[in-house]
């Protein structure tokens, strides 16, 4: 069984969204996703200041045998990226919800958060 924290929101593309104060969100990929991908060897993230529309590709993630796109679940501006992943991309495998986070965004509309999947729906989506 994958770890699906109840206090986060999710997408069908296997990203999680953690809400912080003031319309700031932290985005990464789920425990299920990192398990499917296997050992992650490289994470390509956008520059701080990049403006993203919903479902824009914001980066790519390379595991030992596959490269996958990362989709922005919300519209907003990238205000911070996790530089630690450049040196140690395996943090995504080891701790996807904390040390393995990817980008921090200032989102345009907090209302969009309600359109994301709650943990129970995501669990259903991945068959757990």
């Amino acid at each position: 069984m994958s770890n699906i924290p109840a206090d986060l929101r999710y997408t069908e593309e296997h990203e999680y969204i953690r809400s912080e104060a003031g319309g700031v969100v932290i985005i990464g990929i789920t425990d299920y996703a990192q398990g499917e991908l296997g050992d992650i060897v490289y994470v390509d993230l956008p520059d701080v200041g990049t403006s993203l529309a919903r479902m824009d590709v914001f980066g790519t993630i390379e595991a030992v045998k596959a490269v996958s796109e990362l989709f922005s679940p919300l519209a907003g501006e990238v205000i911070e990226i996790n530089d630690a992943l450049d040196k140690d991309p395996s943090l995504v495998n080891k701790d996807p919800y904390d040390d393995g986070w990817m980008i921090k965004m200032q989102i345009r509309s907090e209302g969009e958060l309600n359109e994301l999947l709650p943990a129970s729906d995501y669990a259903q989506h991945i068959g757990e």
Partner: protein
């Protein structure tokens, strides 16, 4: 790589493709995010006049010389998860190789984590790889964009992957690759191998197959641009 990428784009429109091809001239390909600029001896590669390209897929360097290269591009929904897709394509290749008399098997997923440092793509079998006696016969890589995937890989007719180790800066692991010629004790042609793969594909993936020309390839000069090839 332009054509494989064009197939991926066409798969996003709902098409499904199997492409079998070879390289002229031979070519060294890097993985999409491989740190090639520090890993390989660029001056020597250029002095030898070798063709070089960076793939849209991940993994490590492959020397494409005497091989059958395959590419499968299709909507994700046709195959399923990454692992299921890998398994389906590799199982089809195993079936093709067995028709040729090669005792190929799928390496199970319990092998040690492959090392990700310097060395040829063929240096370490990961789970689900096509192997003979534990040695890797097919090197594959996959990329997913939107609702489609591209998986391509090399089936070695004769082994020349030692060149990758020769071009690596510092020490590199000697490849544990094996070729069809070595296994069968005779020269194996592109024609017989590609025909076996096409037959196995028709048996594995039911549907209406059409042989034909490539879809119109959109201009994508990235793969001919040294700035992309040597970007890291």
């Amino acid at each position: 790589m332009r054509i494989d990428t064009a197939l991926l784009r066409a798969a996003q429109e709902g098409g499904a493709f199997l492409r079998l091809y070879r390289w002229n001239p031979p070519c060294l390909s890097f993985g999409r995010n491989e740190p090639a600029a520090t890993r390989y001896d660029r001056a020597r590669i250029e002095a030898l006049g070798l063709d070089v390209v960076r793939r849209p897929t991940g993994g490590r360097a492959v020397w494409h010389d005497t091989e059958v290269t395959y590419a499968v591009a299709a909507p994700v929904a046709l195959f399923g998860s990454l692992r299921v897709t890998y398994h389906s394509i590799h199982a089809t290749i195993v079936a093709a190789l067995r028709r040729l008399g090669v005792p190929a098997t799928l390496a199970d997923g319990r092998e040690p984590v492959p090392h990700t440092g310097a060395g040829a793509c063929f240096a370490s079998p990961a789970g689900g790889e096509v192997t003979v006696d534990g040695r890797k016969l097919v090197g594959s890589a996959q990329t997913r964009e939107g609702e489609a995937f591209l998986q391509h890989g090399s089936i070695l007719l004769a082994d020349a992957q030692g060149l990758v180790a020769d071009l690596t800066v510092g020490s590199a692991r000697a490849p544990a690759a094996v070729s069809l010629a070595e296994v069968l004790g005779r020269a194996v042609t592109f024609a017989e191998t590609s025909a076996a793969i096409a037959d196995a594909a028709r048996a594995s993936w039911r549907g209406v197959w059409e042989e034909g020309d490539m879809p119109t390839v959109p201009a994508d000069d990235r793969f001919a641009d040294p700035a992309w090839t040597w970007r890291r």
